[in-house]
Amino acid sequence: MDIKIQVENLKIFFDKNEVLKGVSIDVYRNRITGFMGPAGSGKSTLISAFNRMIDFEEDVKIEGKIYIDGVDIINGDIDGVSLRRQIGTVFAVPIPLPRSVFDNIAYGPRLKGITDKTELNELVRDSLKKAFLWDEMKDRLSMSALKLSGGQQQRLCLARSLALKPEIILLDEPCSGLDPISTAKIEDALNELKKEFTIILVSNNTKQIARISDYSAFFYMGELIEYGPTERVFTFPSQKQTEDYISGKFG
């Protein structure tokens, strides 16, 4: 199978604190990979290295390698801005920019220099459709994004990152603040999106990981404990810690 992201012995230190302790993992193209683990397991830190958002933290040291399509994004000659054009990110809390629905989604494309009205219209429509939000938003594009419901805002954030036409989508606990119906809508969207994108879903919710991810990784205290096809990880976990975590004994 096609490897999209390859991580080799990645260590990340905040100040002197080792948050990731030599993680190696292959993330496959056009699959949903679920990263699960209790708070402080390093799963969110790992994805913040993928899009180099980690650069905005202070006193960070990174060792090891991350290859995206074979290009080393840690030591290689690639800057954060062009990297983040290939990688869309959705955060735990929906953070709409204070402007209209349309302008939110057009934010990324406009940064890329797209000013043509027809092209922007198309991008906004396509992105909203892919995020399963078009039907609700088609008559409200000029409305303030701040007025949407939480679930709508989160799908807006998904649509906004899709508008950059990325190859990878990182979702950092995107449903943690959402009701079950809104969560289901996001999951439906992700199931469609994996045909086109490589998706990494970080979640505390093991049921969600079991429901929609193709591969599952379990992190604990900065280490990758277990990784494999979701079905296998959830039915025959090879590690005791994984079993305890997915059966809800801790977490």
């Binding site: 899009n51 958002m53 905005f56 954060g80 801005v81 062009s82 983040r84 054009r85 990110t89 955060f91 809390v93 953070i95 920019l97 204070p98 402007r99 934010y107 990324g108 940064l111 890329k112 303030s144 701040l146 954030c157 906004r160 990152s161 950059l164």
Partner: protein
């Protein structure tokens, strides 16, 4: 004996309400006095004609032009400088001894009486740089005087923009400057504009600093090197030298009305921006 909390609550409410009315009442009283004393002497001729006999007769046209020029030019100079400094302090540098020293300097400058700025402007711009009493010397002096206000209010407004918005902007592939220009400044705009409006008020109403640097010529300033007299200075001289109290009040009314209309325009602009970025 314990007083019933509900009675205390009522008493506090009455007390606070009367304090608020008292404050507004003073403001209304001042404006009313200026209005009733000044209004009978205001007409088109007063606004568009030149003063005669030291201002005893005629109008205030040169002073209106002088006031608009000095306020407009100093705001145009101080705004980019002040907002730029605030952006540097908040976005482009980490908290360090240097930023603390800069901030301390700014705070101290904000507390200096305007007459000291006037004295500095007189010694440095008027005498040392040989500008003479001129619009230019006045503009530069007022620019320095209002800079601290603009820096401080802009800095507070920029700091109040949530960090999350910056993070989202970066995650959508924006550079630092794109983030500042497209997300931070629009969100901070109402606060920045408030600082600018306070500064406009100070520049328009300033007498001590302008009289030392721009002088008090009654001629129409037509170049940067011309001396001139702002409305506030004109009012001060008319009243202080007992030239004409009628004309003084009329001048004061024009001053008040122009500050009022500048504020109305500013709030109109602010609402436009707020409705676009919300």
């Amino acid at each position: 004996m314990r007083i019933n909390p509900r009675i205390i609550d009522k008493a506090v409410k009455v007390g606070l309400t009367s304090q608020a009315f008292f404050t507004v009442g003073i403001l209304v009283a001042i404006i009313a006095v200026i209005f009733f004393k000044g209004f009978p002497n205001i007409n088109m001729e007063f606004i568009f004609s030149f003063p005669e006999d030291m201002g005893r007769h005629g109008g205030i046209f040169p002073s209106i032009v002088g006031t608009i020029l000095i306020a407009l030019l100093s705001i145009l100079l101080a705004t980019p400088l002040g907002v730029g400094t605030a952006i540097y302090l908040t976005e482009y540098t980490k908290e360090s001894r240097l930023t603390k020293i800069i901030r301390f300097g700014v705070e101290s400058l904000a507390g200096i009486p305007s007459i000291l700025y006037g004295l500095f402007g007189f010694i440095f711009f008027v005498i040392k740089l040989k500008m003479g009493w001129s619009l230019l010397a006045g503009v530069l002096t007022l620019t320095i005087m209002i800079l601290p206000t603009i820096i401080r209010t802009s800095e507070e407004a920029i700091k109040a923009v949530p960090r999350n918005l910056r993070i989202v902007s970066y995650s959508l592939s924006a550079t630092k400057w794109e983030t500042v220009a497209k997300v931070v400044l629009p969100s901070a705009f109402p606060g920045i504009l408030t600082g600018i409006m306070l500064s406009v008020g100070r520049a328009v109403g300033e007498t001590a600093a302008t009289i030392f640097t721009m002088g008090s010529s009654l001629r129409l300033p037509t170049s940067l090197m011309d001396s001139g007299r702002t409305l506030a200075v004109h009012f001060y001289i008319l009243a202080r030298e007992g030239i004409s109290m009628e004309k003084a009040y009329a001048t004061a009314l024009v001053l008040v009305l122009s500050i009022l209309s500048i504020n109305i325009i500013a709030y109109y602009i602010m609402n436009k921006v707020i409705s676009k970025y919300s």
